[in-house]
């Protein structure tokens, strides 16, 4: 069992586990976060603004409902996960997703977003590559070929996905976000984090930040979601659009490493305990 699954099981089976523990453990897992948001938005969609904050989802659904969901999901995932991530290890993918989430949240804070709005950036960063998961699981051989060829040709994984699978993870992510009713901001982020200029005007600044976070995570080589091309030109372009300097990005690098280290320690406590 992965450390995340063990920790989810431990937290959810512990009647004394607090809402803070629950939020923490779920927020470290992109798939589980997406599932909770799917549940809340499928249920609440008809009456307005989609919920993109995990904390809000826990207040609305209640700790028990979220615990039950996480429990059943963790068990299910464990059964399904044998030999799943063929291209990148789940650990690497998790680290990359978490890294993008932390950078996006930090950048949003630097740019003066309100504290209440920061979690939406974290969630979007955490989920931006959601579309890779079904592609990797359902078409493991084709996906492996796409990844291998991208590496050989120094091409982006996204271009290679289209060549070998006829569809890229952005389109798949967009379909999932729409189907799970995760709201337009997440739909735009999952669809356009590689081409942020194509995102809708209203969400463009948001997508710029997540896109930059993604590129900078690759630049720092913290974790991997299969992309070997580091697009420094795009980083320069986005720096200009958002109004941040390389120095700020490098300062964030340390925060990111600390956050990931903390998360790892948090997960390892479960394994040792």
């Amino acid at each position: 069992m992965s450390t995340t699954v063990i920790k989810v099981l431990e937290t959810c089976n512990d009647p004394r586990a607090s809402a803070n523990d629950l939020q923490r453990i779920i927020s470290l897992d992109p798939i589980l976060t997406a599932r909770v948001l799917k549940l809340i938005n499928s249920a609440y969609y008809s009456l307005g603004v989609p919920i993109t904050s995990l904390a809000r989802a826990i207040v609305m659904l209640g700790v028990n409902t979220v615990k039950n969901l996480a429990l059943s999901f963790a068990i299910l995932e464990n059964l399904k996960s044998n030999g799943s991530f063929s291209v990148f290890s789940s650990e690497e993918f998790w680290t990359h997703s978490l890294c993008v989430g932390v950078i996006a949240k930090s950048l949003a804070a630097v740019k003066g977003n309100t504290p209440q709005g920061l979690e939406a950036f974290f969630v979007a960063g955490l989920l931006h590559d959601l579309g890779k998961i079904p592609l990797n699981r359902q078409l493991p051989e084709e996906y492996h070929r796409a990844w291998e060829t991208a590496g050989k040709n120094q091409d982006t994984l996204r271009h290679s996905e289209i060549k070998f699978l006829g569809i890229d993870h952005c389109t798949v992510g967009c379909l999932i976000a729409k189907k799970w009713r995760l709201g337009t901001t997440l739909v735009e982020t999952l669809s356009h984090h590689h081409n942020p200029d194509d995102s809708s005007e209203v969400d463009r600044d948001f997508v710029f930040i997540v896109s930059l976070a993604n590129q900078f995570a690759n630049h720092l080589s913290i974790g991997s979601a299969g992309d070997c091309v580091i697009d420094n030109q795009l980083i320069e372009y986005l720096n200009g659009k958002i109004g941040v300097e390389w120095t700020i990005l490098h300062e964030l690098g340390e925060t990111v490493l600390n956050e990931i280290e903390k998360a790892k320690i948090f997960l390892e406590i479960a394994q040792k305990g």
Partner: protein
């Protein structure tokens, strides 16, 4: 609209000499409409048995019986009356059962129909004579036809639970049970090792906004039927998180939302008639409820909204 309370008790049927006046049957409401034959039943608690018997006695020619049953949620006290609802064994009965889907995403047919299996009951589902259609319900607004508009809203209970707002000819009846006020589930104590300032602030605003939405949901209701299982003192002494409301809070919330009449229901199984009379004296007073008419729902009670 005319509403009859066939059961008002919460958690478990509570018969006995202490509950004769307010009744021991769990929740079941019958809603009838002027100028329409439609029958809406809200919840299938143990009070449903007597409602079913009444429907049979009012139908001596064995004509067709139709009802739409709206379940607030699928906890046992809200569904255990269904197997004892006599019309369900009549081939001339048509039932449409609406209710929220659970977090496991099992369809309502499975959750409710599961009661009709040998391990729980001697009659199996496929032996039932009535024609039953199940409709999984989510939060939203629905046109039920004949000028009846229904809005369903998720409440705050350990299991997904729906409140219903029914509007007909300009009059509004709302149900909000089982539920408790939303509250910040995250630690707000900065000395707590798991304290997170952002999380605490997000939890605060989420709870505040959800409570606001709840008041908007029952705003202007001519009759609000609300969970009031506890007093504030009881609620704060170990009952928080159980999914039931303190009376003091709901009276205030209903007043803020300009509710005209408030019926408190889902009485605690341990609450005696005498205790409810004492609570009535305190909370239904003009001093406490202002111009709003507040009362503790009683089994057999009928309320006319016109």
């Amino acid at each position: 609209m005319k509403l009859k309370f066939w059961g008002v008790r919460g958690s478990i049927p509570s018969p006995g000499s202490d509950t004769v006046k307010y009744g021991g049957n769990t929740l079941c409401l019958e809603l009838r409409f002027h100028n329409s034959e439609r029958l809406i039943i809200i919840d299938a608690g143990s009070g449903m048995r007597a409602l079913g018997d009444n429907m049979i006695s009012q139908n001596p020619q064995n004509g067709q019986m139709k009802a739409e049953i709206f379940l607030t949620h699928t906890h046992l006290d809200h569904i255990l009356g269904l197997p004892f609802f006599a019309p369900i064994y009549n081939s001339r009965t048509n039932l449409k059962i609406y209710g929220p889907v659970t977090c496991e995403e099992a369809p309502l047919k499975e959750v409710i129909g599961g009661q009709f299996s040998y391990r729980y009951f001697p009659v199996r589902e496929n032996e039932l004579e009535a024609t039953i259609e199940y409709v999984d319900l989510k939060e939203g607004s629905y046109d039920l036809g004949d000028g009846i508009q229904l809005t369903a809203k998720y409440l705050n209970h350990p299991l997904l639970s729906l409140g219903y707002r029914i509007e007909y000819c300009g009059k509004i009846i709302c149900t909000a049970y089982d539920t408790e006020p939303f509250y910040n589930v995250f630690s707000t104590d900065s000395a707590d090792p798991s304290y997170d300032e952002l999380l605490a602030s997000e939890g605060d605003s989420a709870a505040r906004e959800e409570n606001q939405r709840m008041e908007e949901f029952f705003n202007g209701a001519d009759l609000l039927i609300h969970d009031g299982q506890y007093t504030m003192a009881e609620y704060e002494c170990g009952k928080k998180g159980w999914g039931h409301s303190p009376i003091e809070y709901i009276v205030d919330a209903a007043r803020r939302a300009s509710v005209k009449r408030l019926a408190i229901c889902h009485h605690d199984p341990l609450r005696s008639d005498l205790q409810i009379d004492e609570l009535s004296e305190m909370y239904c007073s003009r001093e406490f409820s202002g111009n709003m008419e507040t009362f503790f729902a009683r089994e057999g009670m009928q309320v006319e909204i016109s």
